[in-house]
Amino acid sequence: MTNEAATGKIVIVGAGECGGRAAVALRERGWKGKITVVGEETLPPYERPPLSKGFLSNKDETSTSGNGDAARFGALEIEHLSNVKVESLNRSAHTLSLADGRHLSYDRLLLATGASARRPSVPGGNLALCLRTRADAENIRSRLLPRKKVVIIGGGLIGLELAASATILGCSVTLIERNDKVLSRCAPKSIADIVETRHRAEGVRFILGAGVTSIEDRTDALLVSTTTGLTLNADVVIAGIGALPNVALAQVAGLAIENGISTNEFLQTSDPDIFAAGDCASTIHPLLDGVRLRLESWRSALEQGERAARNMLGGDVGQGTLPWFWSDQFELCLQVVGLPQTAAATVERWLGPDALLNFHLDGEGRLVAASAVGQLNLIAKDIRVAEMLIVQSARPDPRLLAEPGYRLKTLLAA
C-alpha cells in the first residue's frame, strides 16, 4: 500500500495512547488516505500513567486532559469515533460492525484494544473498585477522603501506587499481597525492600502471603476476609491484581491468540492486513533473543503504535527499544529496563541510602537488564546509560559498575 493512495482506509480500534500514536505516525509517515480511530471511552487518547499517581494525589487535571497526539487529530484529519464499541470484525469483507449499527471498511486494520483490569474472583469481588480509565480514577478519587479505611488488594505497581496516593490523601491504608513480598513480578527483592520500607514509614500496613477470600457489604463498611483468617473493615476496597488483554474481537474473528493477540516482530497478526500493538498484543522481541512477550507499559504502547504505523505502510521495522517502565511512589521513582528475571547475576550500585541501581548480567557477563529505585535525579542518568549498554550487548567490568563515583557514560565509548 503506497502512501500516495489517498483513497485507502486505515481503521484503528482502540483510542488509547497506542492507537493515538499510530494514527498520528501514519500521517507523519505520509499516509494521505482516511484514518478512523474507534474508542469505547468518550475521551480522545489521554495519558493513563498519572491516573494512579498525580491525578489521584495532586488532583492534577492537566496531566490527563489529552496527549500531544490527540491534540493533532483535527489538524491531521484523523477521525475519532468515541463512546462506541466494535462488535465484530469480518476479515474476508474487510469490515467492522459497530454497536450503534454503523459499519466501517478498511484496507489495513490496527487492533490497539488495550487491556482490562482483572477483578477478584471471590464472593463479593465486584465490590472492589478497579482502575483502568479516567472515569475509574475519578470515581476512586471521590472516595479517597481523609481518614477513610482503604484496603488495597495486590502489591504490584498499581497497588503500591494506589497505596501511596491514598496515603498522601490522608487515608488509612492496608495492602494485601498474595506473595511474601511486594513487586515480585517486576522488580528484584533489594528494590522491593526499599519500596516496602518507604511505604511502612508512611504508615501503610502490609498483609503479605495472604489472599482475599471474600468481600461482604455490611452497610456501614465492607468486610474483607483473608486466607490468614484475619478480617478487615474498609470504607473502600481497590483491586490492583493485573490486567487481561482485550482479545475478544480478534479471537471471534479467528486471529491467532497467544497471551494476547499474537503478532510477529513487525506487529502483524496472523492476517497480513491486520496489525496489533500495545497492551492487547504479544510479539517477538529480537533484542531479547526472540522471546514472545506481551508488555503492559506506556513506552511500549507508544513505540509499538509508531512501529505498527510504519509497518502498515510497507515498512519492516522490528523491535527498536527494550521493555522499560517506571513507577512513582511518594518521592521514590522506580525504573526497570530489560527483563531482570532472565539474569544470572546482579551487581549493586548504591547512589544514596535509598537509591539503588542493579545491573543484571547473564552467564557470560553481558548486561541484560537494569533496575533502579530512588529519587529521580539520583538514578535517571545511570539507568539510561545502562539501557544503551544493554543494546550494545556490553560486558562491563562489574567493579566499575559498583563504583558510584565512576562515570558510567565512559563505558559507552569503550
Binding site: V24, N67, G68, R299, L302, W326, C333, N377, A380
Partner: protein, 107 residues
Amino acid sequence: MMIGNWIDACAADDIETEDVIRFDHEGRTFAIYRTEDDRYFATAGQCTHEAVHLASGLVMGTIIECPKHNGRFDFTSGKAKGAPVCVDLRTFPVKVEDDRVYVQVDA
C-alpha cells in the same frame, strides 16, 4: 540589551563535558548544558511534557533526554524531537567570560 540581564550562573567547570546542571534564579529554573567541545547552552529547566527537571536527564551530543519519559530535545535550538514531547523548549543566550557562565534570563 541591558547588562543586568546576564546572570552569573556557575563556573564553567561546574558542568562536566556533555552534561547538564540545574540553575534556579528568582523563582525560575533553567538547565545549563556543556557540550563535548565545550560549548554552553541554556534552556527552560523543565520538560514541556510534565514538569520534570531536565537536569536529571542524560545528555548525548546536543540532545537532552527527559529523565522521566525519555522525551528528547535538541538543547541548542530547544526543538522537541518527537513523542511524547511536542512543545519546544525555550532557550536562553549563554556566554562564558573569565571561566564563569552567564545566562541572559530575560531574553
